[in-house]
Amino acid sequence: MTRLIIKGGTVVDPVAGKLFQADVTVVGDRIAHIGKAPADKDATVVDARGCLVLPGLIDMHVHLREPGYEYKETIATGAAAALRGGFAAVCAMPNTRPVCDSAAVVGFVLERGKAAGRARVYPVGALTRGSEGKELAPLGEMRAAGAVAFSDDGRWVRNGNLMRRAMEYAAMLGAPVISHCEDPDLSAGGVMHEGVTASVLGLRGMPAAAEEVAVARDIILAALTGCHLHIAHVSTAGAVRLIREAKARGVKVTAEVTPHHFTLTDEAVKGYNTNAKVNPPLRTPADVAALKEGLADGTIDVIATDHAPHAREEKEVEFDAAPFGMVGLETAVGLTMALVREGVLTLPQLAAKLTTNPARILGFEGGLLREGAPADITLIDPELEETVEPECFASKSGNTPFAGWRLKGLPVGVVVGGRWFAVRPRVATGRRTRDKK
């Protein structure tokens, strides 16, 4: 069996909330030992001195565009972008063409993910057929085929009764429901956050209330059904408050935030920068502060990217006509490490948001560095700096407002199921360095 030793790094333990020096020995696809590794001339040795060793990062919210929009991204390019971003696993949202609303498409995504042989790819199934919000999708069939959660991401289920039934069904299957909370009547026609910047730019705004009204309803339905509700890409202070209160009452609700929402404000749209056009929109400094507070106090469990690739021509248009979304996989760790330097998160908290918590929410075995656990590991060099250059992305698309930003604290390698991928040239490896992307 192949052996891999990650030597001399600082292990970040999100459960114990501490850091310690240790080697991590991997045998086959499992973690065999944590602690001083015995000399082993046949093992591949990764010199991890100066690096943080985390459980393999999990991005539970990405759009991989295949099937249907392969010109934006494929499962293979998305999985490669995930690796370059430091992620060992990603969850692919179902808004493909066709929509992932059947066992067949779930199977297709799993198969393509395996064939790509990069980061693990898990499919999220649609809640309703075609994500049209009219009738339930075959949740049981998809669950059996390997769907890890259900969501009509991008399209909030407007019909409250249908959402109730979907949540009851998902609860029965033991899968979380991920909700993109946006009341489409309140946000109708909006292309950015409703506020002074939109007023000056003459762009139609989406009020924070559009998100908060939807969060409130879904929390109430989660309490009714006992379903695990996971709120996608929280962006407003009001939504953070609602989630905090619901958690205090014991409602089974978790939430995620994207790096762009805790890093940028709606001013990033100035100059009609379509790369800053996202849904939910970038909000105000007060919202950003509330998101950070929510991350720090545990109201927000997860950092996920909502990686949304779009082709260059699609974004090089009038702001109104451009699609929503930015790529996120390859800038996520750098942007998140800034939170540690700012004192918002400790390193164990960061590891919890990026790996342990998503694993717990999705019922994965990973997310912990434990002997016997699957060998998914991410190495981050906290001192490594790099300028964001979309031309260097492994993703097919480069729609990011962070081009030219200097990021510090970057992934240098990822282990997926025992297989080592060097993703940045920081680490000198021993024998058999494979798959240098």
């Binding site: 002074v196 003459g202 762009l203 009609y272 248009v317 009038e318 702001f319 006509a321």
Partner: protein, 311 residues
């Protein structure tokens, strides 16, 4: 002027605005002549590209170009490539191939002129981009106020009506504030964009509060579609609450002037008696529009920094 495009007044400095107004003064002299033509832009090509109909604005620009002896080409929305799904970027490249020196662009999307300007060599004049800006309208308004009042600094200008959808107001806010005027807006809550206070505009919902002390009452055109959009309950109610009548006008300063970007809905946002009174300077706005547009074409086409700010 050292800029390639005229996209809005937000980006112009007070000195640039004054330069345009001064140049418009010289152009005003040309229009007063018997033969309203000077050879200044002979051999230059001005294209008008309107994705949204506006006969008034287009004629005003075309007349301005003709007074300066430029050749004009007009691309109407119906015949334009946009109907065939050709993007703004492609159209910009086509305009370059046609050799236009300036493009006057009217488009329903905010920011369209900015996108267009990045992909063409020609000077782009924003003739209205969605709800964003309509800089030449604001410049002609500033010119008219200065002409009527002798100054702009220290005046109070109150805009009445549909502030939310008005690019005229957005441009005027920047221009007026940069030249030292106080800006107020007044309209029903549903037609007021949020956050204007943050950029130093006083916001009112009652004319009784907004009009006192106003030197200029600027009445906006009410689009009928606002009723269908559920933003207003009805035209009669609007006229009752926000229509500018003689009685209402009496709340403003005695010498206050009344402006309107046209075309007017008499009896809705403005009473016929006010529109046809000596207080209204609406026809002067139209005449000054040609002079201001001549100034803009002249300053942009004769710019020194050709070929810099585009890719």
């Amino acid at each position: 002027m050292q800029r390639k495009d005229l996209l809005g007044l937000e980006e112009l400095g007070a000195d640039e605005i004054r330069m345009i107004l001064d140049t418009a003064g010289a152009m005003r002299e040309v229009i007063r002549r018997d033969i309203k033509k000077v050879p200044t832009l002979r051999g230059k090509v001005v294209a008008t590209l309107f994705y949204e109909p506006s006969t008034r604005t287009r004629f005003s620009f075309e007349l301005a170009a003709k007074h300066l002896s430029a050749d004009t080409i007009s691309v109407a929305a119906a015949t334009s490539s946009v109907a065939k799904g050709e993007g703004l970027v492609d159209t910009a490249k086509t305009i370059d191939a046609l050799g236009a020196d300036a493009v006057v662009l009217r488009h329903p999307a905010a920011g369209a002129a900015a996108v267009f300007g990045r992909y063409t060599r020609a000077a782009v004049i924003n003739a209205g981009d969605g709800m964003h800006e309509h800089p030449t309208q604001a410049l002609l308004d500033l010119y008219t106020i200065q002409e009527q009042k002798g100054r702009i600094e220290g005046l109070t200008v109150t805009f009445v009506g549909d502030i939310q959808h008005s690019r005229v107001v957005r441009s005027n806010i920047w221009g007026l504030k940069k030249l030292g005027a106080t800006v107020r807006v007044c309209g029903p809550r549903t037609l007021l964009p949020p956050g204007l206070e943050e950029i130093g505009v006083a916001v009112f919902t009652r004319l009784e509060d907004a009009l006192p002390g106003s030197d200029v009452v600027y009445v906006l055109r009410l689009q009928r579609e606002r009723f269908a959009q559920g933003l207003l309950p009805g035209v009669e109610e609007y006229a009752r609450l926000y229509g500018i009548t003689r009685e209402r006008l009496a709340l403003a300063k005695p010498e206050a002037i009344v402006m309107h970007p046209g075309p007017l809905n008499r009896g809705v946002e403005i009473s016929a008696a006010v529109a046809d009174s000596g207080r209204a300077v609406i026809t002067q706005q139209v005449t000054n529009g040609v002079a201001v547009r001549m100034a803009c074409l002249y300053l942009l086409i004769r710019r020194e920094n050709d070929d810099k700010a585009y890719h």
